[in-house]
Each structure stands twice: as structure tokens, then as C-alpha cells.
């Protein structure tokens, strides 16, 4: 090891950063399936996916902020950005995605509801909804039609933006030429597909959980469709990762011996066991089964639930292996270090757990404020969630 390398620089908080951002991008892409590609079956999850994306996006900068040596200076990234820095430009990509895509799309989609609620609710809620109308109370057919068209356009712009958001996170790692574990042109692409996998899986699980909490019936047509998309995306994601691996093994450049040793020792559990076997091959196999066999609704639900949870674990492990794994070996390829995770510190496990709980609290508030479902959802297979512009 070079002597300054003994200490790991990026902790579990930086693992959370691509994990959370991936959930945002994936959830949005799932939402866009309905809006742009007219996949009617996933309609019941459209608004839930948008709110999930927003809840996680609001938390995404927090791990970065907490990790900084000088958090009070973070705003300098916006005031005096260094244009050649991938990290500086991420601030603008994030801001664009939050302000230019997600908030706008949610507001346009909910505008009619917000106006109605601002007239029917009482007390502080009325005040909140009045503020959320932003002074626009026109809900005529013509104005709702404009909302619909504008919303469609924003989703259209949103899809490449979602790709950009998480592809860019991949670029932040992939562009570090000093680190052979990260430096790969495939990194942004792998990040985009893994983001889609995690986002789709998260929305699927949230949909199943929220429906159960509301004591409603799950729309199996919707769930089957989401699971199908999850499987397709997962297969692409896994293929890309394996391609990257094959390329590395076959090339066996100067870094290979060092990285290979790392995978067979320090990363064996987190990469081979958890990420690949448990978090990728198993859920792909489970989802594949549902495509081949004719299973009952209950069996499919259970399989989807299990596959979804394993997927989340697998994607988290992937982020862990990228961020932490990329720092365990020396850039001299002669030596290794270990990551000792702190517990109750600013960058410790407790903070990480709190940061993972926070988006769910925000989502709960958002769902209370802007309910993403209607009572008519309850009839199974009805697909009767509100259509755009008429909801």
C-alpha cells in the first residue's frame, strides 16, 4: 500500500448515494412506461412511482453532505463550479432532474387534485394545498388538456434525464482512471440498468405493501407486468456486468491479479455470494419461473415479494462492492486494506440506517398529502386507475 491509502476515504454513506439515486431513476423510468409507452397495465403504480422517486431524490444529497469535511461549503459547488469536475456537474444534473422534471411532472399530474383539495379541505391542510396550487386554480377542460400535453412532454424529456442522472453517477466512478475497479466505459451503462432494476423492484414492493396496508386487492395484471419488466431489465443488467467481468478476466491487465485476489477474499461474500448468487441469479431464476410455469396468484405474489427483496439486497451489494471494493486494494496493486465501519458517527452505520428510513417517512407524508390511489383501484384487474387529464 502507499502509506496514505490505508484509510478508506469513501464510507457507507457513499454507498447509499448511488443506491438512492438509482432508486429515483428506476422509479421514474417505471412511471414513464405508462405515460410515454402507454403500458396501461402498470397504471396503478404511476403516481406511487413518481412520489417514490421524489422521496428518494430529496434524500439523495444528504449522504454526500454528511460525508463532506466541510458541509458548510457545499453550496460553493453551485456558486463556483469547476466545469471539468464530474462531481460539480452532478449538482446541476440533480437540480435539473428535481426542479425541471420530477417536481414539475408531479405538480402537473396532481394539479387538478390539489385545486379540488384546496377547496374541500379545512384548516392547515387547506393552506398547504392552496400554497401547492401556486396560484393556478384553473381546472377547465382546456387547461387540463394543456397539463396533459405538457406532462407528456416532460416525461419524454424525463426519460433521458433519468438515464443522465444515474448514468452520470456511474460516470463519477467510471471516469477515475487511477482506479481500475471503477474505470470502465461500461460503468455508466451498468449503473443505468441496475438503477432501473432497483427502482422497478422498489416500486413493486411498495405497491404490494401499500395495497396490503390499505387492505385492498393487488391488481395482478399490473404486478405481473412490473415483474416482467423487472426480469427483462435484470437480464440486461446482469449480462452487462458479466460482459465487464469477462472482459477483465480475458484481458488480465496489470491490475487483474490484484482485483482477482480481492474478489476471492475480501469481496467473496459481498460480491459472489450476496450480489451475484443471492441478489441476481436467484431473483432472475424466480422471476423466470413465473414466466414459464402457470402459478396461482398467491404463489406469484410470494415469489415477486421474495425476488423483489433479494433484488434490493443484490443492488445494494453491487453499490457496496463498487464503492468499498474500489478502495480495498492499493493503486500500486501491491497490498490491501480493510473497511472498518463506524457505528454511531457522522459516517457510521446508524446514520446510514437513518438515511435509509428517511425516504420512507417522506414518502408517507407525500402519500398522505397527495394520495396516489383511488378507491376504484380496489377491484382487482380492473385497471381503473384514473386516466391522465381526467383524474
Amino acid at each position: 500500500m502507499y502509506p496514505n491509502e490505508v484509510e478508506l476515504q469513501w464510507s457507507i454513506l457513499i454507498v447509499l448515494y448511488p443506491f438512492i439515486t438509482g432508486l429515483v431513476a428506476g422509479a421514474f423510468i417505471l412511471a414513464s412506461l405508462e405515460r410515454v409507452f402507454r403500458v396501461e397495465a402498470v397504471k396503478p403504480t404511476y403516481r406511487l412511482a413518481l412520489l417514490t422517486a421524489l422521496a428518494f431524490l430529496l434524500v439523495a444529497p444528504l449522504p454526500l453532505q454528511l460525508h463532506l469535511g466541510h458541509p458548510e461549503r457545499s453550496f460553493e459547488m453551485y456558486l463556483t463550479p469547476h466545469r471539468s469536475s464530474a462531481m460539480a456537474m452532478f449538482g446541476f444534473v440533480y437540480l435539473w432532474y428535481l426542479m425541471g422534471v420530477l417536481l414539475l411532472e408531479i405538480w402537473l399530474d396532481y394539479r387538478r387534485d390539489i385545486v379540488v383539495l384546496s377547496q374541500t379541505e379545512r384548516g392547515w391542510k387547506r393552506l398547504v394545498y392552496r400554497v401547492l396550487t401556486l396560484g393556478s386554480r384553473n381546472v377547465s377542460e382546456r387547461s387540463l388538456g394543456i397539463d396533459e400535453r405538457l406532462g407528456y412532454f416532460i416525461t419524454l424529456v424525463g426519460i433521458p434525464s433519468a438515464f443522465l442522472l444515474h448514468g452520470y453517477v456511474g460516470f463519477i466512478f467510471g471516469s477515475i482512471k487511477a482506479n481500475p475497479w471503477w474505470s470502465s466505459p461500461l460503468m455508466p451503462i451498468v449503473f443505468v440498468f441496475s438503477a432501473m432494476v432497483s427502482g422497478i423492484s422498489a416500486v413493486m414492493l411498495l405497491y404490494m405493501l401499500s395495497t396490503r396496508l390499505r387492505e385492498k386487492e393487488i391488481d395482478m395484471r399490473c404486478l405481473d407486468k412490473i415483474a416482467q419488466y423487472l426480469l427483462y431489465t435484470f437480464v440486461i443488467d446482469f449480462s452487462l456486468e458479466m460482459l465487464d467481468l469477462l472482459q477483465r478476466i480475458y484481458e488480465a491487465d496489470e491490475s487483474f491479479r490484484s482485483l482477482d485476489f480481492m474478489v476471492h477474499t475480501r469481496l467473496w461474500t459481498s460480491q459472489v455470494i450476496v450480489q451475484i448468487l443471492l441478489g441476481t441469479v436467484t431473483p432472475i431464476g424466480l422471476l423466470g419461473l413465473t414466466q414459464i410455469l402457470r402459478l396461482s396468484d398467491i404463489a406469484r405474489k410470494r415469489i415477486y415479494g421474495l425476488a423483489g427483496c433479494l433484488t434490493m439486497i443484490g443492488i445494494f451489494a453491487m453499490r457496496w462492492n463498487v464503492v468499498i471494493g474500489g478502495q480495498l486494494f492499493s493503486k500500486s496493486f501491491l497490498g490491501y486494506t480493510t473497511y472498518k465501519m463506524a457505528f454511531a458517527t457522522r459516517e457510521g452505520l446508524l446514520t446510514a440506517i437513518a438515511l435509509m428510513i428517511l425516504p420512507f417517512i417522506i414518502l408517507w407524508i407525500l402519500v398522505k398529502l397527495l394520495p396516489p390511489w383511488y378507491e376504484s383501484d380496489s377491484s382487482p384487474g380492473s385497471g381503473s386507475a384514473p386516466a391522465h387529464g381526467t383524474s
Binding site: P3, G69, H82, G91
Partner: protein
Amino acid sequence: MEITRRRLLVLLPGAAVAWKFVLAGTPEAAPNYKLTEHWWAMLIDIPKCIGCGSCVRACAEENDVPEGYFRTWIERYHVADWKIERPEVESPDGGKNGFPPHADDGGKNFFVPKLCNQCADSPCTQVCPVGATFITPDGVVLVDKSYCLGCRYCIQACPYGCRFLSPKTHTAEKCTLCYHRITKGLTTACCEVCPTGARQLADLKNPKDPIHEFLRTHTVQVLKPHMATGSKVFYNGMDGSVR
């Protein structure tokens, strides 16, 4: 204050220590120093390095380097026969206190001093999100610690492991090539104390600098040339096993 014999005995050792600094004198100010007339580099003559660690100690003292971190360090390489890709490298405490004797088992041993390579196309400068790391017009990569966020992206981007996060300032830190000295006409602390002249500060823009003659007449390399960082720390007599 009345000076008693007892008080004088207490004060004298302090005065003796202070006198050392008085004699060393204040570095001469260089009001005529022109940034654009210099392009700083360093020459490391590997066969001359004896691994005494004086440079590491001098650097730590001159720059108040936190314990356990290094702006410069020395590595001892041991290459057994033909295993050029698998050298044994050690750097106990950065080589600060020298090295214990190595058992002679037939291989070759040599010391390699390391420091920031003051890259002309430095990856650390490229990735800094706020431009707190920058290259001066005279070719030195510096960190503005009043501006650095402490994001550590630069530490990840440095291929040579030369940077660390200071536990004192919570900002990135690295070798400054003793910028506070070289702009006043002095050499770096490490070069000043090196007993064998293994380290030499060089000004590539000064046609009279002996570095030009040296580079023309010796086989010189930079570390990890495939990284294309425009490294300005030149190594003479560097073995292929060094990385």
C-alpha cells in the same frame, strides 16, 4: 519581571532553542519572483537514495504534517531475480525512521522516494468540484484549504496515493513542493536535508538549471507514464518494478 538565578536557569534552554531559529534567519523575501518565469519539477536520483528518512522527517516538521500521513515517503523495493512484476515493497511509517536491515537473499534492494508528482495534467485538479485544487502558473499543484469541501474526490483520482484528508483541517492535503520556500529562492525542505543529493528541485524554465543537462544525458522515467498525467517528478535509474 525580576530575573532571578532560578528563573534564568529556566529561561536559558528556551533561549538556546530560539537562538537556533534566529540563526537560521527569516527566508529572504522574493518581491521580484515572477510566476510565469518558472516551471517547477523535481529530480529523484534513485541510486543515490540511502533510505535514511531525513526527507520525510524534514517535510513533516516543515509542513506540520499530521502523524500517520505523508506528503512524502520512501519505499524500499526488494526484487527477487526475474520477478519484476511481483516486488516486495515496504514503507514502515513512511520510511520516516529509516529501514531495518533486509536479509540478503540474492535479490536487489533499492529505495524510491515518493511525493506529489506535480502533474501538468493532474487528475486531482480535473475532478475537484470547486477548483480548490489548482495548478499555479509556475507549475505546482496546490490546495486552497479555505475553499476545499473535503469531498475526497481528488484523493480517489490521484494515481500515486499522494493525497490524504487532513484530520486537522478536514481538507485535502499533499506536497506543495514547499511553495512557501521555493518562491523565496530557497529549495524544498526534503532537498535541503537530503545527505546524498538524491532529491533535487528543478526549474524547467530556467535554461541554466542543471536538470536540462541531466535529462539529456541520463535514462529518466516518470511514475506510471501510461496515466498520462504530465508528471514532473523525474526518476533516474528507476527499475521496471517500481509503481
